[in-house]
């Protein structure tokens, strides 16, 4: 081998490895796709409904062979951070994102999400009017739709029919908080390790403050008035929190600060609570085969005081990143995943209990679904169409949303104040002081909002 050939071979070798490195970089994530196929990246929370969606992707590919969906699963907080960073820096890394009801209006206002109103109206088969009105309101800004709901939930009161019968009590169809607190006190039985009611006491805007804010609403209180003045120290708010604390003390679970959704679900399905006020989506787990209380549970509307309804409203939605390069393809996927047919597809292939609930009226007209959903399915449908996210409380409010305020600072405000209230639950900090400090925290965010 001469020196020249050796040098040539060397150059060729370097060239090949360089080319490989280049193509490797460019093709990452696109590997194995044919030309003409667009890859759409979907960042999503890793909950069961979304994992079901991943399982059904081949069905979507049968209809749209030229669109490849690349799903990236993340934990809820990670997703929020990753998606916020991506949209805020206009990275365009994710084409589609699952966005919680709390963020859709904020992101929509910032024009981080594509306005879907016209695209959705164009296709009559998609039937936008089939979505529950409150759910649609929750993901709209000034009547423009910025995301499409994938599944939704409200809140209701679950109670043990057998215990109520034993104690000779009857649960009214629309209970008041006064009645519920009384029942809880009567049914609490420390000897049998049983709480009267399980209410979330774990700090966090999405934990303690989900049920507590619905209570504040129905007690005539609110987070902010129409000109963004914090109302945390006003009677409606303080009365509600005081009532929440009293109910926990007299009829609630032991160690309330430990209890969030998951803990209450365990407690209730292990027969250790007579009532549980929480998400409608919990009913599926309560009635599942590994729950000790399956078949013994009755469902009624969320307890009220001064309003007619007080259920909350939450939905996980699919939105398109405003910076995405493949908006058309992304919309094709959104349309498929939130269509009437998708509900049937999930039901018939994965089982009816896995059908994403709480978004479309038509889902509740599928006989198999209603049969599988038992007692709570029709009630859920009713509540979902009755709640009013535009004005959930007694007084008007400058945002759309029930158990949250759609300003970026709210998760911070809610978190900090729930920590203060946790101290009050334990008796370390007088409630008056906690809410006084809470008012300051909330007002700081309100001032920010006033500036616009």
């Amino acid at each position: 081998m001469t020196a020249t050939t050796r040098r040539r071979l060397g150059t060729a070798g370097i060239g090949v490895s360089f080319a490989l490195a280049l193509s490797g970089c460019a093709g990452f994530g696109n590997l194995g796709t044919d030309p003409g196929v667009t890859t759409v990246t979907l960042a999503t929370v890793n909950n069961p409904q979304m994992q079901d969606m991943a399982q059904l992707l081949p069905e979507f590919n049968k209809l749209h062979p030229t669109i490849k969906i690349n799903m990236i699963f993340m934990e809820e907080n990670d997703l929020r951070n990753a998606a916020t960073k991506d949209v805020a820096t206009q990275g365009g890394q994710y084409d589609i994102m699952t966005v919680g009801a709390y963020e859709v209006p904020i992101w929509g206002q910032n024009r981080w999400l594509v306005d879907l109103t016209d695209m959705a109206a164009k296709d009559p088969a998609y039937d936008v009017d089939d979505f529950f009105q409150p759910v649609r309101d929750g993901v709209s800004v000034e009547n423009r739709l910025y995301a499409v709901p994938f599944y939704g939930e409200s809140s209701f009161l679950m109670y043990r029919k057998d215990l109520f019968e034993q104690a000779g009590l009857t649960m009214p169809e629309r209970p008041t908080w006064e009645q519920v607190a009384q029942f809880a006190e009567q049914l609490k039985d420390p000897a049998a390790d049983r709480a009267g009611i399980c209410l979330r006491g774990k700090p966090g805007w999405g934990e303690m403050f989900a049920p507590l804010t619905t209570m504040v609403n129905t007690f005539g209180g609110q987070w902010y008035d129409m000109s963004w003045n914090a109302q945390v120290e006003q009677p409606g708010f303080t009365d509600a929190v005081q009532f929440y604390l009293n109910t926990l003390e007299a009829g609630g679970e032991a160690d309330p600060v430990s209890f969030g959704f998951t803990e209450c679900l365990n407690l209730f399905s292990q027969e250790r609570a007579a009532m549980w006020y929480d998400a409608t989506s919990a009913a599926g787990s309560v009635e599942s085969s590994d729950s000790k209380v399956a078949g013994k549970v009755g469902y009624v509307r969320a307890p009220v005081k001064d309003t007619e309804n007080s259920g909350w409203l939450w939905s996980w939605n699919l939105g398109i990143n405003a910076e995405s390069d493949s908006k058309e393809q992304a919309w094709e996927f959104l349309k498929w995943a939130t269509s009437k047919e998708y509900a049937k597809l999930v039901g018939s292939t994965l089982g009816w209990s896995k059908t994403p609930p709480g978004t479309r009226k038509s889902t509740y007209q599928i006989p198999e679904y209603v049969e599988a959903g038992g007692e709570f399915a029709p009630l859920t449908a009713q509540i979902m169409s009755e709640v009013n996210p535009k004005q959930p409380g007694v007084k008007p409010q400058p945002w759309v949303g029930i158990q949250y305020v759609t300003i970026p600072e709210f998760q911070d405000v809610g978190n900090q104040i729930s920590q203060l209230i946790a101290d009050s639950i334990a008796g370390r900090r007088p409630l008056k002081l906690a809410l006084n400090q809470g008012q300051e925290i909330a007002q700081r965010a309100g001032e920010n909002q006033k500036k616009g």
Partner: protein, 320 residues
């Protein structure tokens, strides 16, 4: 060049003071000086990289701390001056959080040091299955912090089904609502459980390095076991304990997982690490979080300098 020329000034320098050092400098001429300059050039890239790697994140943090930057309001990003620092001082979250950190880290430190000492003394003896016992005792330190927090939250401290309340029930004590009534204590439990093995290991190394002759001499002189322990072993262990405390503090001060999993920062458990996380990822206030970070670094440097000085004093006193 001879070796004596090179070594003499370095030994003399501390003793001779400024004059000695000057003399050493004067002696460097011609080739020596050129060599030293060349050596410095060789080291320079490494030094620059070291400075960049260690200081860039900190400089970036300082830069962020002067920005008004909320992740959720990107269009409003601007220079904030000292606003973030004013906010940190006026909103009253910093001092309680420092206090919470001191209480939690201090409490866990004392407990784990005492328990570690006890276990180390036991393990220092010869008995059958010592290796097995040592391995078993070390395991808590190997468990991931998040897993440890979950074990404590659900298996041990759960109000209805936790083992601790069950144990208390056997002796007639009513179930305790740990997380509601004693949140800081639950964090101290978890940290103590995790770091006792660490303290034990370092103290055990100290015990095993003790000269057997000294102990034997004490025995011959008629010292009781307790006297030997008090007057021979403990002073010997002092340096080891100091090392354990220093390293333990560095580890524990970063406590995050138990707070996030067990108490969510309620009830005096909002340590500095958790407060920073809250400001940055829940408040999404990058500027304010950075300001907290910068202040924490300054406070830490001040305290660490003072602490290290006293420690060195102790070391030198002991040497005399």
């Amino acid at each position: 060049m001879s070796t004596t020329v090179e070594t003499t000034p370095t030994i003399e320098a501390p003793r001779g003071g400024a004059a000695g050092r000057k003399a050493a400098k004067v002696e460097l001429k011609g080739q020596d000086l050129a060599e030293r300059k060349f050596a410095r050039k060789l080291i320079a890239p490494g030094l620059v990289v070291a400075i960049l790697i260690t200081q860039i994140p900190f400089l970036a943090t300082i830069y962020y701390s002067f920005q008004d930057w909320n992740l959720a309001r990107p269009e409003e990003r601007s220079f904030a001056g000292f606003d973030n620092y004013v906010a940190v001082i006026t909103n009253g979250a910093f001092l309680p959080s420092v206090w919470a950190t001191v209480r939690i880290v201090g409490g866990s430190m004392i407990l784990s040091l005492l328990l570690g000492l006890l276990l180390a003394v036991l393990l220092d003896r010869n008995f059958k299955g010592r290796a097995l016992a040592r391995t078993l005792l070390i395991t808590p330190f190997l468990v991931m912090p998040a897993a440890a927090a979950l074990i404590w939250k659900y298996s041990l401290l759960e109000v209805n089904t936790g083992m601790i309340n069950w144990g208390l029930g056997l002796i007639g004590i009513n179930p305790i609502a740990w997380n509601t009534d004693y949140p800081a204590t639950t964090i101290v439990f978890t940290l103590t459980w995790q770091y006792t093995p660490f303290m034990m290991l370092i103290l055990l190394a100290g015990l095993q390095s003790q000269s057997a002759e000294v102990l034997e001499a004490a025995d011959v002189d008629g010292a009781s076991v307790l006297q030997t322990f008090r007057h021979m072993t403990l002073p010997h262990l002092r340096t080891y304990a100091e090392l354990a405390i220093l390293l333990g503090t560095v580890f524990m001060i970063q406590v995050f997982d138990p707070v996030n999993i067990m108490t969510k920062g309620a009830g005096n458990t909002k340590t500095i690490a958790y407060l920073l996380y809250e400001r940055a990822f829940i408040g999404q206030q990058i500027g304010e979080a950075a300001a907290y970070g910068v202040i924490t670094v300054i406070v830490t440097i001040v305290i660490a300098t003072a602490a290290l000085r006293t420690m060195f004093k102790i070391f030198t006193e002991e040497a005399r």
